[in-house]
Structure formats: C-alpha cells, structure tokens
C-alpha cells in the first residue's frame, strides 16, 4: 500500500501546519479515502456541530492506491459535516491533485478552525504553509488556479479551490481541482468557504514519498488490471467514446429519465443532449461539441468530456473566456441542466456546466433545484416579480440566467443556492422537492429503476447514484440482469453494491472500474 504515513494537521485559527503520523491501525481497518476520512471525522467532531462552525473539520484524504500506476489511481475525497444534508458529506474527485499530494509527502490534510482572513495552503515536498489569499477572494476557480501558478512561477502546481459559490456558501458548492474535476456534492465547498480557505496548492516531486512492499508484483498487477479494463465493453469502448453520456438515450428509452422535476419519465429532447449528439457536427459552425475525451491521473478508461461551444451561441457571444475547450457535460450534468428543466439546448447546457466548474457548484443539485423552481412557477406559487424573469419549464434563457446568478448569490440565484428542499419548503410545497436528506435525486427515476430508488432512500449522504449503482444490474446486466421494475432480490444486490462501492471509494481508485473489476 502506498502510504506516506503522514497526516498534515492545519489549524486555520492559529495558522499552524503540523505533521503527525497516520493512524496505521485505522488505515488497516478503514482502508483509506472515504472509510479512513470518515473515521477521522467522526472521532474528532461533535455530531451536532453546525457545519459552518469553526468546530467542524474539513478533511482531504487519499487512498492507498492514490498516486500509483494502478489504473484510475488518482482519486481523493473531501470529508466534512455537510451543510446541505446535515449528514457526513464525502465527495470524491479525480484529476491530478490527489496524486500530487501523495508525491509531496502526505496522505491526508485535516483543516481545523477558521481563518480570520482568506488564506490558501501551499504544499511543496515536505513543506506546508498558509499564505494570504486576500487577492484571491472573489475570484473564480479558473482565475485562482491561474494566479497561484503565476505567483509561484510553477505551471506544474496542482490546485484545488472554491469559486464564488463556496465563498457565498451555496449549500451545494463543491471544490474543483485541475479546472474541471470536482468534489462536487453535498456542499463541501461551502464548508471550505466558511473557513476562509480559498485553495490548496500542491507540488510534489519526491521519489521516496511512499514505499510499496513488493514493487515488482505490484507493477505486474497494474499491468493485468489495465488489460481487463481495455477488454471490457463499458470501460474499453462505451465510456471512452461517449463518456457517462452513453446512458442518456438508453435511460430515456427505458422510461427512467426524470423530466421536468420528475413530473415525467421520458424527455422528448433527450436525443439532442445525448453523448451521440456531442459527436455530431453543429449546423451553426460545422464543429462537434465534443473536442476529445480526457483522462484523470493514471486512468486508462478516459471517460472525461472536453467540449468547445459554438462561439456564436447567445450565452457566450461577448465572453471570450468560454470560447476555448473545457470540461463538457457528463450524463448527470446533462440530465440536471437539461431534462430536469425541460431544456434541450446542448450548447446552453455546456455553458451552464462551464459555470459550475468555473465557480464551483454541483450541477446535479443546481439543475434539480431549478427544475423544482420551474414547477413552483408553473403552479403560480412563484411569480415573475420574485424571480425577476419568466421561469417556465423548458426556458433555456432562465436556466442560463440562474446559473449566472447562483454562485454570486444575486437576485433569485440566492434562493436557488439553498437547494430544492429549502426552496420548496419556503413556498409551502415541500413534497415537490425531489430529495433524500435534503440532497437532490440524480439522473435516474426511482420509479423506473426500483433498485436505484432504494439506493437513494438508503444512501448515507442523501440521494446519490454513487453509493450503490443499481443501474449496473438493472440496465447494463452487470453482474446479472435484473428487471428494472421488479423489487425481488434488489435489497441484497444493493447491499452488495453498497459494500463494493465503499471499498472502491476507500481505495484511491475510480468507481467506474467496477464495471470490469466488480462483483
């Protein structure tokens, strides 16, 4: 196992950075990442603590395979008490940041207290210090990464930061690393903002950061694992070609694509926002939305979407910063920004997704909340005067406008930033909020896929598709095909998936490996 055996404890109040030994007994029992980070959190905080209190802690934690050649071994998790759910929030991210932390000499960083003024943590090979971030406050994720790299004259620094959504405590603000990879859900970015912590910047070049017990056997095992991923239809073909967006048409056909705040289960615009559509040449400029696929650290699947918008799209006409390529829509984002609101303009979805990455907020919770607001509007419970503009289902302009307003907390964006549970409660219709523990359902309808419904209901971080992916048996037939609408045998299968997911989330690897390496 690739442990540096070092934990960095940062006290934001005192301004200290102290290294302590990793609790190896816990590393053995709870593996790493999700398991280990959660163990540290529950051991150190009062469960009743206010998520925004300085007494809450924020933990960045890697797994035993993070920063190794094991395919997809680049993941890290952020664990804290979350403001959206009031439960333990544990959000997982890829990119290159987690591996860099390992090469710098730490497995984990624990942030305690809150800083009096904005700061960022700078980590370089065995050294860590808090640096004034007054000049970064109010900047986006994209600006912050650029400024930090320039300031330290090192283009190879990896940065994880919050945008204005985290600063303004949008309840589903995330932490974004490497420009478009996010610990996205449950509001971990809002907790970071409450601590006046703008970013964590890391440069790691050590060859002795960790020791592997049997290096030759490890190397041989990684080689074998890569071959299995390449040979599998999902990880070797589907995901590289279409990303998770391979699902849009499939789920829609099944009648399990939640549409217009779950009023319907099929979306007439699904095809236009699908993975296939991202490959098609646009009539406007003759270019496809998708530029290429991209990988996270060590990943031989490479499901990531890199998109470039139509430069003449109404949303970005005079905004050159969005005309280059960047992280495009994945399935969840395409659903939330699109089908959940009845919007079928792929370019508008891409723009809103850019904004989610740029200012650090979760497209799932954001899009689902806009969908709920649209339903309230159609029912006459929300008025044009309150919103500032018309908000019917299917309004591309309204969805885009709200994406622009939410992170900066202006106008009705402030209310959208509370999430759908608080929004619907405010307007007297709590049952219109499609949430569990206050967290929005993702892109599969629990009525069409009964196992996924059970997965949402029993997920320990609120509604989530990543705590037990019943789409595998119910749609893809992995490990066996299960009838989507049946309930028989589902609890036991879900339990197996929840356990499997807990292991993978604790290892440093990506959940997508389970299509090939799983049950």
């Amino acid at each position: 196992m690739a442990w540096t055996k070092n934990v960095l404890r940062v006290n934001l109040e005192a301004g200290t950075c102290i290294t302590e030994p990793l609790n190896m007994a816990w590393a053995h029992d709870y593996m790493g990442q999700r398991g280990l980070g959660t163990k540290y959190l529950v051991s150190e905080i009062d469960p009743k603590v206010d998520p925004f209190s300085p007494k809450n802690k924020l933990i960045f934690v890697t797994g035993p395979l993070t920063g190794t050649m094991a395919a997809t071994g680049g993941r890290y998790s952020v664990v804290t008490k979350g403001p959206l759910t009031g439960a333990i929030a544990c959000s997982n991210s890829g990119g290159y940041f987690g591996a860099e932390l390992k090469f710098a000499g730490w497995d984990m960083v624990i942030f305690e207290g809150a800083s009096a003024k904005p700061v960022y943590l700078l980590i370089t090979d065995g050294q860590a210090e808090l640096v004034d971030a007054t000049h970064l406050w109010g900047k986006t994720v994209w600006e912050t990464e650029g400024i930090i790299k320039k300031q330290h004259q090192d283009p190879q620094i990896r940065v994880a930061s919050i945008g204005r959504a985290g600063e303004n405590r949008v309840l589903y603000a995330g932490i974004v690393n490497d420009l478009h990879r996010a610990a996205g859900r449950s509001g971990v970015g809002a907790v970071m903002g409450s601590k006046n912590l703008k970013a964590v910047a890391v440069r790691g070049t050590r060859t002795d950061a960790y020791q592997i017990a049997d290096p030759e056997a490890f190397f041989a095992a990684t080689e074998a694992g890569k071959k299995v991923l390449a040979a599998n239809g999902v990880t070797g073909q589907g995901l590289p070609t279409y990303g998770t967006q391979v699902l849009m048409n499939v789920i829609n056909e099944l009648g399990a694509l939640p549409t217009r705040n779950h009023r319907e289960v099929q979306f007439e615009g699904a095809k236009a926002i699908s993975g296939e559509a991202m490959h098609e040449k646009r009539p406007t400029d003759g270019k496809a939305n998708l530029v290429t696929n991209g990988a996270c650290f060590g990943c031989t699947i490479a499901c990531g979407r890199i998109s470039r918008m139509d430069p003449n799209h109404f949303s970005i006409k005079d905004k050159p910063q969005y005309k280059g390529a960047s992280g495009g829509v994945e399935y969840e984002a395409a659903w939330a920004l699109g089908a959940a609101n009845g919007v079928s303009d792929l370019e508008a979805l891409t723009y809103a997704n850019f904004l989610c990455n740029e200012d650090g907020f979760d497209p799932i919770s954001f899009g689902a909340t806009v969908g709920a607001a649209m339903e309230l509007y159609e029912l006459g419970l929300l008025t044009k005067e309150e919103v500032g503009f018309e908000l019917p289902f299917g309004s591309t302009e309204a969805m885009v406008r709200l994406a622009e307003l939410t992170a900066i907390g202006e106008g009705f964006g402030k209310t959208i930033g509370l999430g759908s549970k608080r929004l619907c409660a405010k307007y007297g219709r709590p049952e219109l909020s499609m949430t569990v523990k206050g967290q929005e359902f993702p892109a599969y309808d629990g009525r069409g896929l009964q196992g996924m419904g059970l997965a949402y209901a029993t997920s320990n971080r609120g509604a989530c598709h990543l705590r037990g992916y019943m789409v595998s048996p119910e749609v893809l037939g992995i490990p066996v095909k299960m009838e989507p609408q049946a309930t028989e045998g589902k609890p036991a299968m879900l339990k197996a998936f929840q356990d499997l997911t807990a292991v993978v989330d604790s290892s440093g690897l990506c959940l997508f490996t389970t299509f090939a390496w799983g049950l």
Binding site: T68, M69, F103, T207, A230, V291, G298, A302, S326
Partner: protein, 158 residues
C-alpha cells in the same frame, strides 16, 4: 532496424501512464515529476501532447558536453547520459533545441530519454497507442496509410 518513438497526440488522453512508467523504469517510483517524457495539456484547445527526446542524429547535447558524458548507443541510436561522467554543468540543456534533456537537482546530473535499451516503458504503458516504438524509416507510415485511404481514383466504385 533502428526504431524510434512515434507520438500521435490525437490519441493521447492525458492519463500519465507513460510518465509513471518512465519514472518506474529509472527510479522505481511513480513520481511523474521525474519522468523523461512529459504530457502537456493545452486545456483550452482540448489537446494532450506527449513530448520527449527524439534522439537527433547529430545531437546538440552530445556535441556540447565538455566531458563526453553523452554517448551514442550503437544498437538503439539513443544518446545516453553516463551518470558517473556527467558533472551537472547543464550546458547540454542550453544546447538542446527542444528542452528534452533536463537537470535533476536530486542527483546533480542531467537526464534524458535513453529508449530503455530498446524497449521503451512509456510506449508499453500507453493504453491508446499514442506512443509507439516503430521503424525509424517509417514513422509516417500510419499517417500515410490513413491519407492514402482517402484517395479514390477509380470512379467506377463511387
């Protein structure tokens, strides 16, 4: 037959398996910072480009070295840094037009791609064949074949 690394940026996904393989080969560590091949991300163009030494026939680094620490491997054609001889003067890093020979503070020597004695670890590790090791005389062969396929000189088949 002499062979060369052939790089096809269109196939690269930025996974850095090549960088880890290189570091593994030379340091028995996955530290990408020590890799002799680097993948550059041109984020706003959506391009990833692996880049390393192309083993110039008349190698500027070798010519510039004042202590003859860079030698030709007659079998692979690689220009190899002899660590015991290298004094870390870095003149070669100035002479190289491409920036593909670099100083390593940890060892006090320079390092560059040595083609792993004829079995480059980066090419072996690459999952998409963005890096391959092919006949030096025919690095353009695949590209030629693709373009050849686009020609159609027989109207009868149209």
């Amino acid at each position: 037959m002499q062979k060369s690394l052939q790089i096809d940026p269109n196939k690269c996904t930025g996974c850095l398996q090549c960088e880890m393989a290189c570091s593994w080969e030379n340091y028995r560590s996955f530290t990408i910072a020590k890799s002799r091949i680097k993948v550059f991300s041109f984020h706003h163009e959506g391009r990833f480009v692996p880049y390393t030494c192309t083993q110039c026939d008349e190698a500027w680094c070798m010519t510039a070295c004042p202590v003859d620490a860079i030698q030709l491997d007659p079998v692979t054609g690689a220009k190899i840094v002899l660590d015991p001889t290298c004094v870390g003067c870095k003149v070669c890093t100035i002479a190289c037009p491409f920036g593909t020979i670099n100083y390593v503070a940890q060892t006090g020597k320079v390092q560059k791609c040595d083609l792993c004695d004829g079995a480059p670890a980066c090419a072996k590790a690459c999952p998409t064949a963005a890096i391959t090791y092919v006949d030096s005389d025919w690095t353009g062969f695949e590209k030629m074949r693709q373009w050849a396929g686009k020609t159609d000189t027989n109207p009868a088949t149209v």
